[in-house]
């Protein structure tokens, strides 16, 4: 494995048992099933000092993927390599030694901070795992606080005394505390206003530049992901359907779903009310994924082959892969 790869996902699968669970089929109706195929065979590489964007809509499995990568939940099968080392089956204790390098920022700034802890205690928490030296911790907390743009007088405050944007800054400071090499960002700005979002995104970019860290930026908002990432992977129903350099994907999507996704993004330009690439029906649920290519029931170009055989990810151009029997022409 090349030295440049920080994190490698090899065939990650995560199923959840769902006794009598109800789900929505692609005609948008409720039915019942037995296993949720949240993530169904994902291979991904994240390189050093780069950002991988992961986009997908509800039910695509991106949040499950994030939690599996952090080993908050154990994958049903597949392997995870961090800096070349297989970390899939490490014990909680052994994993704790790697944690300083692998952190997360959650979507909801209101529930990702313990309401009963002061801001400085929240940020100090991951530091306490790495060192016992109180002075060092104190110094670093102050340093971080300043770096994320919060005032020193707010160190002692509780989360409910901060606004959404400020809480997210605290969450960022906490994630950075141990100078991680990789930070997973799970919809970090989706709960924020447009103007706050801009501030937070700028902060994230500044930090990445300074620390030379990698991000895995997960979001349903394609424009934001495009803005922040070097490479992008598109997920649909637990699988990656297309992956490649972000500008490539945006200009020349090869998978019909990617094309539909990109064309349905509303542009802030009233003169560009273009036609969107057709997509039928609703996103089916991961409890009962369609046969063959999971996208076939909604794809305007589907053929019989699509409903029978599942396409594998194939590299079409330089590092641009797609999983489709009939990739779109450029």
């Amino acid at each position: 494995m090349s030295n440049n790869v920080l994190l490698r996902l090899d065939g990650i699968v995560k199923y959840f048992p769902a006794k009598g669970s109800m789900f929505y089929s692609e005609s948008g109706v409720l039915e019942s099933g037995s296993t949720i195929h949240a993530v169904d065979g994902v291979d991904l590489d994240i390189e050093r000092n780069s950002t991988l964007g992961v986009v997908g809509e509800s039910g695509c499995g991106k949040t499950t993927l994030a939690r599996t990568i952090l080993l908050l939940i154990k994958p049903t099968s597949g392997k995870l390599y961090f800096e070349g080392r297989d970390i899939t089956n490490l014990s909680y204790r052994d994993l704790a030694k790697i944690r300083p390098n692998l952190q997360i920022i959650f979507q909801d700034p209101f529930s990702s901070l313990d309401p009963r802890m002061r801001a400085k205690e929240i940020i100090a928490e991951p530091l306490g795992v790495v060192t016992k030296n109180r002075e060092t911790i104190k110094e670093r907390v102050r340093e971080l606080f300043e770096q994320v743009g919060l005032g020193m007088d707010q160190l002692n405050r509780f989360p409910n005394e901060f606004s959404g944007g400020q809480r997210q800054r605290i969450a960022i400071a906490r994630a950075l505390a141990t100078k991680p090499k990789l930070v997973i960002l799970d919809e970090p700005t989706s709960a924020l206003d447009a103007s706050t979002q801009a501030q937070i995104l700028n902060l994230l970019l500044d930090i990445q530049e300074q620390y030379k860290m990698s991000y895995m930026f997960i979001s349903h908002n394609v424009s934001v992901v495009r803005h922040m990432s070097d490479r992008m992977a598109v997920m649909y129903l637990g699988k990656i359907v297309e992956e490649g350099p972000v500008d490539e994907l945006m200009l020349r999507p090869r998978h019909p779903y990617t094309a539909a996704l990109i064309s349905s993004i509303p542009k802030p330009n009233p003169r560009a009310r273009g036609e969107m690439v057709e997509i039928r029906g609703e996103t089916p649920s991961p409890v009962n994924p369609p046969s063959g290519c999971r996208y076939h029931p909604r794809c305007p170009f589907a053929t019989k082959l699509c409903s029978e055989r599942e396409p594998q990810l194939q590299e079409l151009e330089d590092r641009h892969s797609t999983a489709c029997h009939y990739p779109l022409k450029s």
Partner: protein
């Protein structure tokens, strides 16, 4: 690690509480009770008109009057003074039972809920046993086994009270362990025991402190029942339930000996109940507009 109560919350809670007349009564009773208890501890017998242990046979069986507000008992002791002096005793009993059982229950319940699996199963079965037996009966049984005395009354009640808090704490832990800040702590690499101590328990305790105000009244009631059965305070110590026990024999001839201390118990227990009810309503988001 601290309990978060921000000013707006307090103002809002007090605001709703103030509108509820019954809970105002409850607050008044509770304040009076605790105030009296504290005053007695500080000032001792000088607070009351008569020395509560003064035996004065010639004054026995006086009915309530200006001189003896609650009358006198068979030993000529002033019942009002005895009641007042008993306040800290009952306060100690009530608060000790509730606070200690919360501590035990929250600790066990939080750990059990967080860890899950076998440990959780075991705790659930144990608490099931306790909850299925009528608690007063169980308390009486334990108290009899332990023998008379106030400490035993407290212990007997602890046995009965902790399972309820354990179950509440367990439920809280079950939902807390899915919360994002706990996940963040796991990602930070925090050891499990630290997560329980720093995140689960503090977040579990505060909702419970509110419900426990209700329970203080009930705890005093339970303790009084045990004393009433002769299992609690021993003479000459004054304790409300004991006073009722003492007055039992003279119910017809000197009703005030049993009835008035009994009334005091009732009012205090009722006061805390009203307060607890009011607090619970005040914290209910629907009432806060």
């Amino acid at each position: 690690m601290s309990l978060t109560i921000d000013r707006k919350e307090i103002a809002l809670t007090l605001g709703v509480l103030k509108r509820d007349r019954l809970s105002l009564v409850g607050i008044a009773v509770a304040v009076l009770f605790i105030g009296t208890a504290i005053a007695v501890v500080i000032f001792g017998n000088s607070l009351v008109p008569y020395n509560p242990t003064d035996v004065n046979i010639s004054d026995a069986f006086q009915s309530p009057s200006f001189q003896h507000l609650f009358g006198t008992d068979n030993f000529g002791r002033d019942i009002f003074s005895r009641c007042v002096v008993a306040a800290p005793v009952d306060a100690e009993i009530g608060f000790t039972i509730v606070i200690v059982s919360i501590l035990i229950g929250v600790f066990l319940g939080s750990t059990s809920g967080y860890v899950g699996g076998r440990v959780d199963e075991i705790l659930m079965r144990i608490t099931d046993v306790f909850i299925s037996v009528p608690s007063l009966v169980l308390a009486i049984g334990v108290a009899v086994a332990l023998g008379p005395g106030i400490e035993h009354v407290i212990e007997a009640n602890l046995v009965v009270w902790w399972p309820i808090y354990a179950r509440l704490a367990r439920a809280g832990a079950l939902s807390l362990k899915e919360s994002q800040f706990v996940e963040a702590a796991k990602v930070a690499g925090l050891a499990h025991y630290k997560i329980i101590l720093k995140h689960i328990i503090p977040n579990n305790i505060s909702p419970m402190l509110v419900y426990s105000t209700l329970d203080i009244g009930n705890a005093i009631l339970y303790a009084s029942v045990l004393s009433y059965l002769g299992l609690g305070a021993q003479p000459p110590q004054a304790e409300w339930g004991r006073l009722v026990y003492d007055g039992q024999a003279y119910l017809v001839s000197a009703w005030w000996m049993a009835i008035l201390p009994g009334l005091v118990i009732f009012i205090v227990a009722l006061g805390f109940n009203l307060l607890g009810d009011g607090l619970r309503d005040a914290l209910d988001p629907r009432y806060r507009k």
